[in-house]
């Protein structure tokens, strides 16, 4: 009998077949970290089986975990997750805000709780992500992360041996300034009203101001340079307001700004038709640029960048705006110049175009000031 007992114990506890051991995958959690200069957005999948081991999800102990049980244990899950992930700046810990909502996802080995968090750091310098979830309860656990920034991705595996990853953005990082340069150009090209404003500015540039926009200019380069001056005055001006807003010196309601932008287009288009201001239009354009600068500002304001990075971002963004505008001028100006002597240009494109632009800008202005929906655009 004693021998039988020994055999039973023997055959229940030892494995005769070492080869079939690792029949499943060990414990992993999956993170996607979207990283923007000083803030992170985290999407995190944690296995229900692992949570069960530490905090217990199977409340009624029927060997199955239901969505109801997960919801009941929501707070415990989020508290536990928060204890296993930290974001720090150079000197202090940054706050990670965990979304109170949980979702479910499936990986190849079962169901996972989907946890979302956002973190923001006030200070500058490289941020660090510290992962320690399950490390004191499961030596085989790994946090498998994809760190994403500006469209590029780095795979990272957090383990007890390497629990920390530095999210580094150096100010010298060519990507950093490049990112904002691109954003600046993007804002010009994607914002329909900025393109319209440029077109309205461009239309009279191939006609002489002295003639009240009646006669075409003779030479290409002087007219082109005048045009560039106007555009650059615009950039410099909006750079000023952009900086004031970004440094929190000035704030202005976005509704008001959008309406005023439409108003500047309207005024410019009317000036084309009536030729009120003929010389030194760049001064007026600079004034308008001040208004347009407010419209760009929200982009940078939302990022809450540290000072040194903000300066660099501003530089990049403004260069991008300028470059974006020059590209548009370089495409449209030669076309206008080529057509300038034709009646088609003078009557249809210049007068008709300015008229349509004035009408569109007027409707925009009404829409934006009075919060109406008049145009599809």
């Amino acid at each position: 009998m004693k021998r039988l007992k020994l055999l039973l114990i023997l055959f229940f506890t030892i494995s005769f077949f070492p080869q079939i051991a690792s029949a499943h995958k060990p414990s992993d959690s999956y993170l996607r970290v979207d990283y923007k200069v000083n803030s992170v957005a985290i999407h995190w999948d944690v296995a229900l089986k692992d949570l069960e081991y530490i905090i217990g999800l199977d409340i009624n102990q029927d060997r199955s975990i239901t969505w109801g049980e997960v919801k009941q244990r929501r707070k415990a899950i989020l508290d536990f997750a928060a204890s296993g992930l930290k974001l720090t700046g150079k000197e202090s810990e940054c706050k990670l805000d965990f979304s109170p909502e949980l979702q479910i996802d499936h990986h190849s080995d079962g169901a996972y709780a989907v946890i979302r968090a956002r973190g923001k750091c006030a200070e500058s310098g490289p941020l660090k992500l510290h992962y320690s979830l399950f490390f004191d309860s499961d030596a085989g656990h790994r946090g498998i992360a994809m760190i994403q920034r500006n469209g590029s991705s780095v795979p990272v595996i957090f383990s007890p041996e390497s629990p920390t990853y530095t999210l580094s953005v150096q100010e010298q990082d060519p990507q950093f300034i490049g990112h904002f340069l691109f954003q600046g150009m993007d804002h010009i090209w994607k914002g329909f009203d900025h393109i319209l404003f440029l077109v309205v500015l461009l239309l009279p540039s191939v006609l002489t101001a002295a003639s009240g926009f009646e006669k075409p200019v003779e030479k290409f380069w002087p007219a082109f340079i005048t045009m560039l001056k106007v555009v650059t005055a615009f950039t410099v001006a909006h750079c000023v307001t952009l900086s004031l807003v970004a440094f929190d010196v000035l704030t202005i309601s976005p509704y008001l700004v959008e309406g005023l932008v439409a108003f500047t287009i309207l005024l410019t288009a009317i000036n084309n038709l009536l030729a009120v201001i003929k010389e030194s239009f760049w001064i007026v354009c600079g004034l308008f640029g001040l208004i347009h600068g407010f419209a760009f500002a929200t982009v940078l304001q939302d990022l809450k960048l540290p000072l040194n990075e903000l300066l660099l971002a501003l530089l990049g963004f403004n260069l991008g705006v300028e470059a974006g505008q020059i590209v548009i001028v370089a495409v449209i100006f030669p076309l206008c110049f080529f057509l300038r002597k034709t009646a088609l240009y003078r009557k249809l494109l210049f007068i008709g175009g300015s008229g349509i632009a004035a009408a569109v800008a007027f409707l925009w202005m009404l829409e934006r000031f009075f919060n109406l929906q008049l145009l599809v655009l």
Binding site: P18, Q19, H24, R32, I65, T66, W67
Partner: protein, 389 residues
């Protein structure tokens, strides 16, 4: 190299993404089914022990109680999560060169399950030097030596058990090695005879020995006897994944894919069995390849953490499902450096043939010939390979 890097990045995307997050409609929706545990310790008790241990991590008796409960769950579920948990529970002693005997015993078991065969053998040698009558450690030693192809040493371990445990245990230990060394017929006869009059022996041991008999009969090409013995084994231990995989391989070999799909339909959680399901799906030429998709996903996720214990399954998958014999051959050869069971050798020979690279199988053929293999499937492949050369 570039290709590999690209693959890693791609599989990271594929792996990390999951399916798609959703909010279940009903609170009663079951998201996860937990395996039944054989240990008498409930998961709530385990959690309590775990919490207490975090307060005093160096208290050995409590740590051992918890580690043993986890080890039982590890054996019944096969889920490698438990190995990491055991290591964490015993973390105060785990990295020691000379841990307490009880810790070393558990460590050896976990190490061999993680395919760290050399480290496991070192621990077992210490344990057996300390207590030569430790049958459990001795059998584990024999099993590992058999898997890594050191048959002479494995036989010595079997011999060392004589008189210290039941006759059928020792006989099975020897038979499992003899049949790989040119004594297939003798091994089978001895096992048949012992099983005819088993006497008062635990059903689980009879189940194990019947499974081994099935394995030997299959190696000899006697599919009918193999099926009988494996059915007996399955009745006695219906959940044993090893018996299930042997049965599945037999059905696949004899063109009975539908039976594999039926037999394993609830077993897809286990990678080795999921692979058999994918192979059956491939063989039955069903248009839907759900198991192959699932297996590919699991491979991707295992690769994310650089896991290499799936080499055998990966190689087989590459060969028969992805139809990439070159890749399959590389994986099979890498796998063969650590384990040399008939299936491991079979994959080397098959992929070398299909990749038109018979020379790559040279070492494996030499090993099999040196051991006078009588495994009929291996013998046929060796003939083919030598015909091509």
């Amino acid at each position: 190299m570039k290709k590999i890097f690209f693959f890693i990045i791609l599989s990271f995307y594929a792996g990390i993404a999951g399916a798609a997050p959703y909010t279940p409609d009903s609170g009663s929706e079951v998201l996860e089914t937990l395996p039944y545990s054989l240990s008498s310790t409930s998961s709530a008790d385990i959690r309590k022990l775990q919490k207490e241990l975090l307060g005093s991590p160096e208290e050995l008796p409590r740590a051992l109680t918890l580690a043993k409960a986890l080890l039982k769950d590890a054996s019944t579920t096969g889920d490698p999560r438990f190995y990491g948990r055991i290591e964490a529970v015993l973390s105060s002693w785990w990295k020691l060169k000379n841990p307490p005997v009880e810790v070393r015993k558990i460590r050896a078991d976990v190490l061999q399950k993680q395919h760290h065969f050399d480290e496991a053998l070192t621990d077992l040698e210490f344990l057996l030097a300390h207590n030569p009558a430790d049958v459990q450690s001795r059998y584990m030693q024999a099993s590992i030596l058999r898997v890594i192809g050191k048959y002479i040493e494995a036989k010595e371990s079997c011999q060392a058990m004589e008189g210290k445990t039941g006759a059928l245990v020792v006989l099975s230990c020897h038979a499992g090695i003899d049949y790989l060394m040119g004594e297939l017929k003798g091994a089978r006869e001895r096992l048949e005879k012992a099983l005819q009059h088993p006497g008062r022996i635990s059903p689980s041991l009879i189940g194990y020995s019947s499974g081994l008999l099935g394995e030997i009969a299959y190696a000899g090409g006697d599919y009918r006897r193999a099926a009988e013995a494996l059915e007996v084994a399955r009745k006695l231990s219906p959940e044993d994944p090893y018996i299930l995989s042997l049965l599945a391989d037999l059905y696949l070999q004899t063109g009975q894919a539908d039976r594999v799909l039926e037999l394993l339909k609830d077993e897809s959680a286990n990678d080795t069995l999921l692979l058999r399901l994918a192979l059956a799906e491939e063989q039955s030429e069903s248009t839907e390849k759900v198991y192959a998709v699932q297996f590919r996903e699991r491979l991707n996720e295992a690769r994310l953490r650089g896991l290499k214990v799936h080499l055998r399954e990966e190689s087989w998958f590459m060969l028969d499902i992805e139809k990439d014999p070159n890749e399959a051959l590389q994986l099979a050869l890498e796998n063969w450096t650590s384990q040399k069971e008939p299936l491991d050798s079979l994959l080397v020979l098959r992929s070398a043939l299909e990749a038109n690279n018979p020379a790559a199988a040279g070492q494996t053929v030499e090993f099999l010939k040196r051991n006078n293999t009588e495994e009929v499937h291996l013998q046929k492949l060796i003939q083919k390979l030598e015909g091509e050369r």
